[in-house]
Amino acid sequence: METQALIFMVTSEVIITGLTLYFFIRVLFTKPKGGVDSYTDTKE
């Protein structure tokens, strides 16, 4: 694989995968707000 193509691919994919994981992990670890929220599972 040509160096330029490799740099392009790796940079794009690392940024995209990194941001995907970052945002999803933040969702998983953000504590629910108190009171009634939008999700029925937290009401049980």
């Binding site: 193509a5 392009f8 794009s12 995209i16 945002f23 599972d41």
Partner: protein
């Protein structure tokens, strides 16, 4: 009192459903084609720029408009927009948010049914031992509803109805019990299947399993940047278009899903998580499957030629044959994974198209969940059957163009104007950031106010007046020839050619060249005209009925516009205009229903 008791079960479920809405067939079939045709690796630059300047702002706008409408019990765009501005026009612009979903679902569920059928055929080993031509023919036969590939009469219709029934069943279970559960199962499986195929694609070795080249050759081709393409407006237009389709923007489904989120709950982090998840599936997985595998077996030149078939052509006509090269067990695994992931991508999107239609009936007419789901299914079936029966006549393409392309751009352009300029950015920003778990950079205020609206207006006008051959240097005050895919070009039937009458006694050749074949295939008669003047031969086949009389014989030289055969016939343009009439009728009917619902709400003093 509303009967709309839909609700999300969990935050992760909402994000997976929203990502499932965005992740569609286009992630695997359209994105790689667009990248190949628009500068390889350099396509990713305008693509990501469009994502940051148009995709993310529109996600913010749609999540905000949805959650805002939901606070007043409005889960669809007509009345959500009405709440944002009381001028009558906005609720009718909101009609797009139901119209697009219904009309797109009509043909999208048909493609979805192909993936379901192909998953079954892959598991049954139907493609075992078929040549490349045989696999391509299988698809042609499948689309020709009068023939059957399994012995089931009208197989394509049966799978279409089966697919719709599955959609109705899941939708009738509600958001947490249906859509969300489906997303929680299907999205992880989709990513798993995608990773398996991507690894297979990348690790393909020349000389093994019949491959001619390494899979890496395909990746190299896809990711080698051609910087000169950055100066081409066509590339930017294609990148902007891809962002639209991939994020399901301008459709009304994002707003509907978001309308079930309460004001104190976050929408900023949610929208970022769902949006980037879609980008991961598209860029990381989508780029590593079709192109590397196809180039591994066919080489660069052939694949560039095959991309002219479009993503659907490559996916259904070619991929099953390539999987067959991997041996009996792996080919079944690969076929089931590939068509299975396409099916999961498709159904999680079609469920999102059904929800606004259901929510509208539940909000405005107090219909129950099950009845609303059935009503959606029946409406899709009625609107979708013409795409099944008259696929070859271009009905499918018309739906895709007007409902699945133009409507989205028009709707998105108008909704960003509503959000940033009519509702007001100050108020809009406050709504967007209420309950946010992450901070949005302030630069997005400027982007939402100026950059995104200007980009969308540019995309709309660029698409409307796109010049022939995408040669933008030809634009002048004296006029220019329109590309046949431009909005004006389509309206003016620029692609119709000499057969512009609905009913006619003669069919005229749409291509200049030599009549080199007259043949019968699947009980249908064809005459083929081949143009040999260019280095690469190009042919066109024209079907004629038994009652028609040929006006040419093999070896004749014909020019575009010369009669090929005579006798009564209906031209394609008739079906094209009927499709447009049908879509317009659907829009008007939904508009009328919105008017009726509005009057009802005024009488009941609930608006």
């Amino acid at each position: 009192m509303t009967t709309n008791n839909l609700a999300w079960g969990s935050r992760v479920g909402l994000i997976l459903a929203m990502a499932g809405n965005a992740v569609g067939l286009g992630n695997f079939l359209r994105f790689p084609m667009q990248a190949v045709q628009n500068g390889g690796g350099a396509f990713i630059i305008p693509y990501l720029v469009c994502f940051l300047l148009m995709g993310i702002p529109l996600l913010f706008v749609e999540w905000t408009a949805g959650r805002y409408g939901g606070q007043f019990g409005h889960h669809t765009t007509p009345f959500a927009f009405h709440k944002m501005n009381q001028r009558w026009i906005w609720k009718y612009i909101g009609v797009f948010g139901i119209f697009s979903n219904l009309s797109i679902a009509a043909y999208y569920c048909y493609i979805e049914s192909w993936t379901l059928s192909y998953t079954m055929h892959s598991a049954m080993g139907t493609f075992n031992g078929l040549s490349q031509h045989g696999v391509a023919n299988f698809f042609t036969n499948y689309l020709d509803i009068s023939t059957t590939t399994t012995g089931i009469p009208y197989e394509a219709v049966v799978f279409y109805v089966l697919c719709l029934a599955l959609n109705i069943w899941i939708l009738s279970k509600g958001l947490s019990g249906g859509v969300e559960k489906a997303a929680k199962i299907m999205m992880p499986l989709l990513i798993l299947f995608g990773i398996f195929l991507a690894i297979r694609g990348i690790t393909l070795k020349a000389g093994h399993e019949g491959a001619l080249f390494d899979g890496v050759v395909g990746l190299n081709f896809l990711w080698t940047p051609h910087y000169d393409s950055l100066m081409n407006p066509k590339v930017w237009l294609a990148a902007a278009g891809q962002i639209f389709f991939t994020l399901s923007l301008g459709q009304g489904s994002v707003q509907c899903y978001a309308s079930y989120v309460k004001k104190k709950d976050d929408i900023v982090l949610n929208s970022m998580s769902a949006g980037w998840m879609n980008e991961f599936v598209e860029v990381v997985l989508g780029s590593a499957i079709i192109i590397p595998i196809a180039i591994g077996y066919f080489g660069l030149e052939k694949v560039v030629e095959l991309t002219q078939l479009g993503g659907l052509g490559l996916g259904f006509r070619v991929m099953p044959f390539l999987f067959e090269q991997w041996g009996p067990i792996l080919s079944v695994l690969a076929g089931v994974s590939f068509f299975g992931l396409l099916f999961f991508a498709g159904i999680t999107s079609s469920l999102a198209m059904g929800t606004p239609c259901m929510s509208f009936l539940m909000d405005e007419f107090k219909w129950r969940r099950g009845s609303s789901a059935v009503a959606f299914g029946v409406a899709v079936l009625v609107l979708g059957l013409p795409t099944v029966f008259f696929f070859q006549e271009g009905v499918f393409d018309e739906y895709d163009y007007w409902a699945g392309t133009v409507s989205l751009v028009v709707f998105a352009m108008l909704e960003i104007i509503l959000f940033s300029w009519v509702f007001g950015l100050k108020k809009g920003w406050a709504e967007l950031t209420a309950g946010a778990d992450i901070k949005i950079p302030n630069i997005y205020k400027f982007i939402l106010k100026f950059v995104t609206p200007v980009m969308l207006i540019a995309v709309f006008f660029g698409s409307a007046v796109r010049p022939v051959n995408d040669d933008w240097s030809k634009i002048s005050f004296r006029g220019w020839d329109l590309h046949h895919e431009s909005i004006l070009g389509q309206m003016l039937h620029n692609n119709i050619g000499p057969n512009h009458k609905y009913f006619t006694d003669a069919f005229y050749s749409e291509k200049s060249g030599v009549v080199d074949s007259v043949f019968v295939q699947r009980n249908r008669n064809y005459v083929r005209v081949t143009d040999t003047t260019n280095a690469v031969k190009s042919s066109a086949e024209f079907e004629y009925k038994a009652k028609n009389q040929l006006a040419v014989k093999i070896g004749d030289q014909v020019n575009k516009g010369d009669a090929l055969f005579t006798g009564g016939m209906i031209n394609k343009v008739f079906f094209i205009d009927i499709s447009r009439f049908l879509l317009t009728l659907v829009f008007v009917l939904i508009g009328g229903t919105v008017y009726y619902a509005y009057r009802k709400r005024v009488r009941e003093k609930t608006i």
